[in-house]
């Protein structure tokens, strides 16, 4: 049940992002809402959930806009996994920790994306855009993360409560 709801939320976020991505950017750089959700899930639940959400998000993006499978799929699942692993022993829920972990996760995603894009010939000099894309998009993701974290946390707590009462 939980998994279905999380997949649905992720699906809605992807659809919203594909439909409205032009309107939600700042100075031409857009926040990656589905990635932020995957990273928040990694924090709220665990690294496996983060990797799974990242994998599904990346896979759909590769299918919808890519020319092969793997560019977003690998980068986003690794980012989700690493953030989940990194947040294991941290006191979760503090805004600053959420923001820092989402920033780190976004940087990891962009870095792996650059490596895959370089080796598959999609980008010839991806390193040139380290600042303009990697840092800028990670900062924007960082600023939207508290809101998405609250959403993910509330869904998780609702399910905990629901299952505690019912079972």
């Amino acid at each position: 049940m939980r998994t279905i709801v999380y997949i649905l939320v992720l699906g809605v976020l992807i659809l919203v992002q594909t439909a409205l991505s032009n309107f939600i950017g700042i100075f031409g750089v857009k926040p990656d809402l589905p990635l932020v959700f995957a990273l928040c899930m990694a924090m709220v639940k665990n690294e496996k959930a983060g990797a799974l959400m990242g994998l599904m998000n990346g896979f759909l993006e590769d299918i919808l806009f890519g020319r092969f499978i793997g560019l977003n799929t690998i980068a986003k699942s690794i980012a989700g996994y690493v953030v989940g692993l990194g947040s294991r022993n941290l006191y979760k829920g503090r805004v600053i920790i959420t923001m820092l972990l989402v920033f780190t996760g976004s940087v990891i995603f962009n870095f792996i994306f650059m490596i895959i894009a370089f080796f598959t010939g999609e980008l010839i000099h991806p390193w040139r855009y380290l600042l303009s894309i990697t840092v800028a998009s990670s900062l924007i993701n960082m600023f939207v993360s508290p809101l998405i974290y609250i959403g993910a946390y509330r869904i998780e707590r609702f399910f905990d409560y629901y299952f505690d009462i019912k079972y």
């Binding site: 020319r67 793997g70 690998i74």
Partner: protein, 286 residues
């Protein structure tokens, strides 16, 4: 000896083993789908078919909201805009008169030289934009027409303002279009005024974002701010004469053998809602 111990420890630690295995599988998937388009298409088609109706509806809602939000500040500028438009209409009418005069003169001269009157029109297919790339690295859009409407890979996509991009893949009812602002895009182009040739490339970092770069312009090319850049037709992907944008800045390469120009695209990619795919050229009714 140490290596054997390390390997034994790694084999004991299942998590690392699984991770390495997953990474290996991922690399295999990248390799297969990158080199064999047919396999990628088999996975792509059912997913896009399921998702495209929802994307179409959401995209429409998005544009409706944007339209409404855009009209609010416009109310305050309506009077000034009206005046400016009247002035523009007067100028355009004068241009129209001149054009008709040139057209007549051209027809006369062609008949004098014995040239066949070439009057070709594009065979266009109208399509709606239903989704946009979610990431910041590439610029790809999804349109709601595909193989059923005889759209194929590499066909040029335009609006009434100018060139949008080229189709990079198709399914039965959708097509992926790589915009000219995408880092991977390059189009043969020329300056309308001087006929100097170059290559227009999309770039992530051409400041401000969303602008293009026209490379390989010779050192003696006479570039002026405001020059119109059109497609040159070389390469065969984009027909000749489609407006790409206008020159906003010219710069010399560091080694001074070439120069390049920063181009402002003619198309407003943020308001891209409806596009036309050029399926071919057809003879217009004489």
């Amino acid at each position: 000896m140490k290596v054997v111990v390390l390997l034994r420890r790694l084999l004991k630690n299942r998590r690392w083993l699984i991770l390495v295995l997953l990474l290996f599988i991922s690399i295999m998937i990248v390799n297969i789908t990158l080199n064999q388009e047919a396999i990628f298409k088999k996975i792509e088609i059912p997913i896009i078919t399921v998702l495209s109706p929802a994307q179409k509806i959401l995209s429409k809602i998005g544009f409706d909201i944007k339209d409404k939000l855009d009209t609010i500040p416009q109310i305050f500028y309506l009077k000034e805009e009206n005046e400016a438009l009247k002035k523009q209409v007067a100028e355009l009418l004068q241009y129209k008169q001149n054009l008709l005069e040139y057209q007549r003169e051209n027809t006369d001269l062609r008949s004098l030289l014995g040239f066949k009157d070439k009057n070709l029109q594009y065979d266009l297919e109208a399509a709606e934009v239903i989704a946009r790339d979610t990431g910041n690295w590439f610029n790809v859009i999804l349109i709601d027409k595909g193989e059923k409407q005889a759209l194929k890979k590499d066909m040029a996509v335009i609006t009434n303002e100018g060139l949008v991009g080229c189709i990079i893949s198709t399914t039965a009812n959708t097509s992926k279009v790589m915009l000219i602002t995408d880092e991977r895009s390059s189009i043969s182009a020329m300056l309308q005024r001087t006929r100097d040739n170059g290559i227009v490339k999309g770039s992530i970092d051409t400041a401000p974002r969303g602008y293009l770069k026209m490379d390989f312009l010779s050192q003696d090319a006479n570039l002026v701010k405001g020059d119109i850049v059109i497609s040159s037709g070389l390469g065969g992907l984009v027909p000749k004469g489609i407006v790409i944008g206008e020159v906003v800045e010219t710069k010399k390469e560091s080694y001074e053998l070439m120069q390049y120009a920063i181009i402002k695209p003619a198309v407003d990619f943020l308001k891209l809602e409806r596009v036309f795919v050029i399926k071919g050229e057809k003879e217009a009714n004489q």
